[in-house]
């Protein structure tokens, strides 16, 4: 058949044609653009609108950023240098960076202390955040609160040492008695720690100035440092409280349950700013006359209460998401309430609720800016108060706000990216 055909026509190809490249419109960038940007009239309009918006944004901000002045001592000098050209006056950042980061009153020659504390903070949280980091590092994490306190607030090293000693004494006492009675051990531990602190108070009073850093009072803290301190302290304190509240809300004891429910719903129902008002003007009425503990501590108490209510709700979600069988399995093994929670329920429930906890942490860190409303000089308070009100820099809005936005974005975005990374890790575990 083929033979006859070959004779009938003048020419028959006996080799394969070399492969042709696909048409230009079906390959590479053109195909991608056709499919992803111009796949219909509606999509085309959307693309054009998006291009226009991006163009407007860039054409507005790029000359301003690239033409910026980084060296000047006031807005007036800045305008002279610019001489009518477009450009930002970023000199305010180079001149006032220390106030933006550390506040007005923190002693200039001591900036290394909060900086070191910040670097050590990263080291301390590493083993908590990355399960693969060496477990030995957790010891440093345990020590960090005392190191960080000493670095930032200064004073004699005996104050944090006594604080640490109290915990150590409490722990040792607890370990001694735990075998005989859990409750007795806990009570003895609390008493032991309190006695240690009480006795240590005299030591600290006597040893003022021995191996001491220059003491910095709380009201001198400010700038982005204050946001970071409030965020870290409140989140770490609110985690254990939040767990207790969540367990309380799930518990079978009606009185405990109702105390927790009322507390959580009350705190979640009011804005943080009203709680800050409480810290600022009301809390003093509820303390013994003459007590005068500083505003930062009062704010930390209120923000911690606020955060722990939210964390309690997140953990309650985790507890509810655990299959009923886990609780029953723990019971059928003969574990009591404390054991089953500690060994079976909480490890799983906390794992489920980590993304939610991180969300609360990001939200809380953002909310620390609200302290500027009760006239504390955090980052926002710093910009609105001392810097924008100064004669040199009155009117430099964009540069300062861009800097604040950038700092908060970097921190919050990295935390949320971390949470997504962790979520993926955990998913892999479950498969």
């Amino acid at each position: 058949m083929s033979d006859t055909h070959a004779h009938a026509v003048a020419y028959v190809r006996d080799t394969m044609l070399p492969q042709q490249p696909p048409p230009a419109s079906e390959a590479g960038a053109v195909k991608w653009m056709r499919e992803n940007l111009f796949s219909g009239w509606f999509n085309t309009i959307l693309t054009l609108v998006a291009v226009y918006i991006i163009f407007r944004l860039l054409s507005g901000s790029l000359p301003w950023f690239l033409g910026g002045i980084w060296n000047a001592d006031s807005l007036a000098t800045c305008r002279e240098v610019l001489d009518g050209a477009t450009g930002g006056c970023f000199a305010v950042l180079t001149e006032r960076w220390n106030q933006l980061l550390f506040g007005v009153a923190y002693p200039n020659d001591q900036y290394w202390r909060p900086t070191l504390a910040f670097v050590l903070l990263l080291v301390a949280v590493a083993p908590v955040l990355y399960p693969k980091a060496p477990r030995k590092m957790l010891i440093f994490t345990g020590l960090y609160p005392f190191v960080g306190f000493w670095l930032i607030w200064g004073g004699t090293i005996f104050a944090p040492l006594v604080g640490l000693l109290g915990f150590v004494v409490g722990y040792l006492l607890f370990k001694q008695v735990e075998r005989q009675s859990f409750a007795g051990g806990a009570a003895l531990a609390v008493v032991g720690a309190l006695v240690t602190w009480w006795a240590g108070g005299f030591l600290v009073g006597a040893a003022e100035g021995v191996i001491a850093l220059e003491p910095v009072p709380s009201r001198d803290l400010g700038g982005f440092m204050l946001n970071l301190i409030l965020g870290t302290v409140c989140i770490s304190l609110s985690l254990p409280i939040g767990i207790l509240l969540a367990l309380g809300r799930q518990s079978d004891l009606p009185i405990v349950k109702w105390i927790c429910v009322v507390f959580i719903e009350f705190i979640r129902g009011v804005p943080l700013i009203t709680l800050l008002f409480v810290a600022n003007v009301v809390l003093a009425y509820f303390l013994p006359p003459g007590t005068n503990f500083d505003l930062v501590l009062r704010v930390i108490i209120m923000i911690t209460m606020f955060a722990s209510a939210y964390i309690a709700e997140v953990i309650r979600g985790g507890l509810a998401a655990l299959p009923r069988g886990q609780y029953e399995a723990a019971d059928s093994l003969g574990l009591d309430y404390g054991q089953s929670m500690r060994l079976i329920i909480l490890p799983q429930a906390l794992k489920i609720s980590i993304p939610g906890i991180v969300n609360v942490a990001v939200g809380l860190f953002k909310d620390t800016t609200l302290v500027s409303v009760i006239s504390m000089f955090d980052m926002v308070g710093m910009i609105r108060g001392p810097i924008l009100a100064s004669t040199e820099w009155n009117g430099v809005y964009w540069e300062l706000w861009s800097f604040a936005i950038l700092l908060f974005f970097v921190v919050c975005y990295s935390i949320s990216q971390y949470s997504q990374w962790l979520e993926r890790q955990l998913q892999r575990d479950h498969r």
């Binding site: 499919e35 979640r268 129902g269 804005p271 009203t274 008002f277 706000w401 908060f408």
Partner: protein, 404 residues
């Protein structure tokens, strides 16, 4: 067998309070209750002592005294001679005003952004992702202040509208967007004006009635009734007819330049506008994520099953995807509304006189009644949030999947 389940005999021992599970929960609860009572009585004792020392008492009498301060944005009549109570009510209304406006715009922006973020268009979906990430990761307080600064800096001042070489002009001769705030026409109701409004509301109800009637017919008899054009007709015709028959009882009062400022019309101060706008776009970023998650939560099999039944894409969206997505979207959406309402208390940063600005701000500072003011403030926000939670629970019960 009976001997195994015999209750432990013997007399009651004190240690049973801790070691016996029958009594332990009672012991713990009693301890918790006692601790709570002790804590509260300690706080109360301190409070009484402190108040006595400061020569104060706990009373809400200050609410009846004249406030002596002015509120520049208000929905009801108020002068500086009005009472603190009146000032608080003005604040409550302002809070509710910005919360309601904010919830509406945040929902609209959030839904649009959430849907666009799922679009096939690479550029648009990336742009929306950038928007969502930037707004979610920066404190709302900063956005409120930045947007306030933008409004004051970018928009023209009223004086720019003056003269022959005015650099700014009113939109359609009736709206003026200035750095001080927005001016819009104010409807003035003449005699019979309310009849027009009543007719308009009645025709809206009529449109819904028509829709229901059409659905009922469809289910009962399989007859499709077109409702689009009758609805449009019902929307416009009766209202316009009554409006002209009654001799145009509703007129508009236009804002007009008088001296250095605009007079007349509705005036929304820049503080209200920027707070509204900032809360909207901040909350919209969160709502967009909820919407996206809700739509993604409907499994692809549902869409494919609907398509294989022969439904067209619009119907698939309306009848299959949306009802299931809404069940996922609405609860977090409502808690976003709650967040927006609570965040509106940041109005104090831009000088918008909401409840935090009046009762928690000037009234508190003038009268020094910190405890009473803060307590009242908290009660109000708590009431709002409990009300919203109640609505949410009711909705959840209504749409809960009824499993067999």
């Amino acid at each position: 067998m009976t001997s195994v389940s015999d209750p432990p005999s013997g007399s009651f021992q004190f240690s049973q309070l801790i070691y016996d599970t029958r009594y332990r929960s009672l012991t713990f609860q009693l301890i918790a209750l006692l601790l709570l009572i002790a804590a509260f009585s300690w706080l109360g004792y301190n409070l009484v002592n402190n108040l006595r020392a400061a020569g104060l008492n706990f009373s809400y009498g200050f609410l009846g005294e004249p406030a002596n301060y002015d509120i520049n944005q208000r929905l009801i009549e108020y002068t500086s001679q009005s009472t603190h109570w009146r000032a608080s009510v003005v604040g409550v209304l302002n809070t509710l005003l910005v919360a309601v406006l904010g919830c509406i715009t945040a929902t609209v922006i959030g839904v649009v952004v959430g849907v666009l973020r799922l679009s096939n268009n690479w550029l648009v979906s990336k742009l929306m992702a950038v928007y969502v990430e930037i707004f979610r990761n920066v404190p709302v307080l900063i956005w409120i202040l930045v947007i306030m600064a933008i409004f004051v800096a970018v928009l023209p001042q009223p004086r720019d509208f003056r003269g022959d070489d005015a650099t700014a002009s009113m939109v359609w001769g009736s709206f003026a967007f200035t750095g001080r705030g927005f001016y819009a026409p104010l409807p003035i109701f003449g005699p019979g004006g309310w009849i027009v409004v009543a007719v308009f509301i009645a025709s809206i109800i009529g449109i819904f009635g028509l829709k229901r009637y059409a659905t009922k017919k469809l289910y009962a008899e399989g007859r499709v009734i077109k409702t689009l054009w009758p609805s449009v007709g019902l929307f416009f015709v009766p209202t316009l007819l009554v409006f002209f028959l009654l001799g145009r009882p509703i007129s508009l009062e236009y804002p007009a330049l008088a001296g250095f400022n605009f007079q007349g019309g509705i005036f929304m101060r820049n503080s209200l506008i920027s707070l509204w706008f900032a809360l909207s776009i901040y909350t919209a970023a969160f709502i967009a994520e909820n919407v996206r998650a809700g739509i993604l939560a409907v499994s692809k099999g549902q869409t494919e099953a609907a398509a294989s039944l022969g439904l067209r894409p619009g119907r698939i969206m309306n009848l299959v995807v949306l009802p299931q997505a809404l069940r996922v979207i609405v609860p977090p959406l409502i808690s976003q509304y709650l967040n927006l309402t609570k965040n509106s208390s940041l109005a104090i940063a831009v000088g918008y006189m909401d409840l935090t600005g009046t009762l928690g701000g000037i009234t508190l500072n003038q009268t020094g009644r910190a405890i009473e003011s803060v307590l009242l403030l908290m009660t109000f926000y708590l009431a709002i949030s409990l009300a919203i939670s109640a609505i949410m629970n009711a909705y959840n019960n209504a749409v809960r999947m009824r499993e067999r």
